[in-house]
Point group: C2
Chain length 481, copies 2
Amino acid sequence: MKPWNDPTWKNAMRVRLAMGNVFEEAVGPEGGITRVQLESLYDRLRAIQREIAVKREAGALPFLDLPKQEISSILACVEQNRPKFETFVVLGIGGSALGNIACHTALRHPYHNFLPADSRGGMRIEVADNIDPDRITGLFDTLDLPRTLFNVITKSGSTAETASTFLAVKKLLQDHPRIGPGWREHVIVTTDPVAGDLRKFASREGLVSFDIPQGVGGRFSVLTPVGLLSAAMSGIDIEELLAGAADAVEYHARVPAEKCPAFAGAALHYLMYNHARAPKRLAVMMPYSHALKDVADWFRQLWAESLGKEKALDGTIVNVGPTPIKALGVTDQHSQVQLYIEGPNDKLFTFIETETFRNDLVLPSDNDLADLGAFNYFAGKTLGQLLHAEQKATTLALTRRQRPNMTFSMKEVRPYTVGQLFMLLEIQTVVAGALFGINPFDQPGVEAGKVATYALMDRPGYENEKRAIEQEISAQAEWVL
Amino acid sequence: MKPWNDPTWKNAMRVRLAMGNVFEEAVGPEGGITRVQLESLYDRLRAIQREIAVKREAGALPFLDLPKQEISSILACVEQNRPKFETFVVLGIGGSALGNIACHTALRHPYHNFLPADSRGGMRIEVADNIDPDRITGLFDTLDLPRTLFNVITKSGSTAETASTFLAVKKLLQDHPRIGPGWREHVIVTTDPVAGDLRKFASREGLVSFDIPQGVGGRFSVLTPVGLLSAAMSGIDIEELLAGAADAVEYHARVPAEKCPAFAGAALHYLMYNHARAPKRLAVMMPYSHALKDVADWFRQLWAESLGKEKALDGTIVNVGPTPIKALGVTDQHSQVQLYIEGPNDKLFTFIETETFRNDLVLPSDNDLADLGAFNYFAGKTLGQLLHAEQKATTLALTRRQRPNMTFSMKEVRPYTVGQLFMLLEIQTVVAGALFGINPFDQPGVEAGKVATYALMDRPGYENEKRAIEQEISAQAEWVL
């Protein structure tokens, strides 16, 4: 691998967008848009680009400045703790979990946690992002507590799932004969710099802690200590990850909007959602790289929570939002592609491809199978070639059936390109928010559910809500078979 | 746990469907249907039920008879091999993988593979269902080959992904100094009883093999040796699994269609897809049970490949098919629920709940956190209670916002209930196929992609296709940023 700061990389994105198959000439009038339609958005895209620059200057888009943050305290924390601990457990959910998982899957050995500690080059990483009791107690079964470090992550400091799991973990640590009062050395807190109950607790207990910068929401937080600490603990080069993101920010600020993948990607999603003949309200992201499968899951939150909104910025009721769908090449060819090809023409496909793999595997010729047509054509080809052939074949099959698709392409999956991809998709989301005319940074729809949970869990102060909710539930129509 | 053959279980499903929240009275005219609409389908449902009985009698629906199959050869194979091997690797994709994964996740410890061999009560199970070379070579890194047994599964005997991976595995085994010619004892074949290159190969090499019954397609094959062998190897009680499925078959044949969950479920999906005011073409399946998350992934193939069709039975072009989406409670509350609540009203939600967990965890009271409102309301409650509260809260929030939802509910996740759920969803799929007027058992749309893959991989006999495809690809519109 070239070093990430190779000078020839300076002026181009290492993640490129091929978008020929979204136009009518490739996928017809049911599937495609015209180049004129895209070009008619250029002025608006440039205006959005200027707006982003102005807002950033005013400090209103802090996620764009994350790549330049100081990471020495993270690196020092890693250096200090890696010799002491074998397992690093993130207690977090949503934006406090998905970026961690995405980094881990993308940039570590696919069986990282399974490898012997001395051959994996980093700590075992677990992310406890569901409170299912079988799942959580099952995780506990596998932990050697004296060698386990926990990272409690919640921006608000009061997320019910994280708070409850932390209570259970704290008791486990305190009850352990070899830990007891030493539990504090097993807990790192990542939360708001000043606000919230978890910050208060971390301060008075003297726990090691990191800040989630104010103004950076959970789904934009992968490049804060939320994602960086577990990445560094697992052995990922976070300096390179941030360098990729920094170059993507710089590129999208400098190059005319219509030539930037994030602006073009947002424009295409917007045009397809509003396609006059056959609206495409489903956005399928399908990496042809097992390593990138959880980047697609991370994107699912980013896209859904940012763009799924009842109200436009002017207060109009719009109930807008593309539905993101995670698929995986080649696996989902044997599950979803039948529907993608023959079902309704209501999807825009985004493939992600990598030109090379860390390890490819040459398929042997085999005398025992030489007469069998199902086996004898692979000799001398690689698994990577087969994967690429299948990707091309699927792209072709979709295009022939007028299903619009585009492809993010990278030379290799490494911290630099993953950093670029994260930032590119975050910028694409903000640009799409501007095109759809909604606020991509809030999530008002989930508030009611949180209140109802507090009420049903008898949290003090929610007694009236509890009575109302119980009445509502008992009044609900029942029809059980 | 009660034994699965408890006599009180005989006359009712152990998986029930609560569907009050699909009606207008609960979710209004944008979200709901009327009871009259549902009732107007009853005659059709009863006719479909009779048709199924007739076809089954004629041997045309063999998946319904799988629960009564003889499993002694599977159990004998397990008994013989479990002492010799530690790891069982399935080489299969799509219908030859998803059922195996679903059983494993549902019915084994969540860290089954991670536990020490002597405490997990079954072999380590791996399913190599993607040909990504990093993923496959990564798996190989973790295998102790002399202690590894491979199960090559492909119905046609020629699936490219499985054939190529098998070639690589065979060479690994033959090259191993302690295996060499003994490779045959490390391979079990599951394929068509007579047809295909893999069957031919297994016969002449004298490999242990199992049959995929003719007429049972991949996505309906979880209860054939495809899914049963790995399940039994991992320690799952497959007799109980089949007993649940058998009782579900019997129930859906005996009880009037309109009182069967599978028929009602199919009818509701059909009505919602064709909802006059706001069609719901997305089918979200969201288990509130970590164990059932891969059942939702298995269902994704079943639903998409069975119902996503270009042509109706009479040849009319319909391009029909609901898009299945897998979500997970509570995790996806922090990712997708904002969109589900505020975005377009275009989804029908199916929750799956379990009343009890194998292990619940009581949350402690904690003096250090007693003054902090984010932490102090959990004392004495369990994680299971929190999960149920969140499920209720989400259901309530969706219902208030007129998003239709229904819930499959079971007392506990165990082989019997999982067997019922598999069969229930398979019957629901076949009934939905009848309502939509398409053939749920074919998949014509994926043929073109297979041919293109063969051509791009230089398989003999596909030379003309290769030339055509290359011209087509080079003629495709390019626009790269």
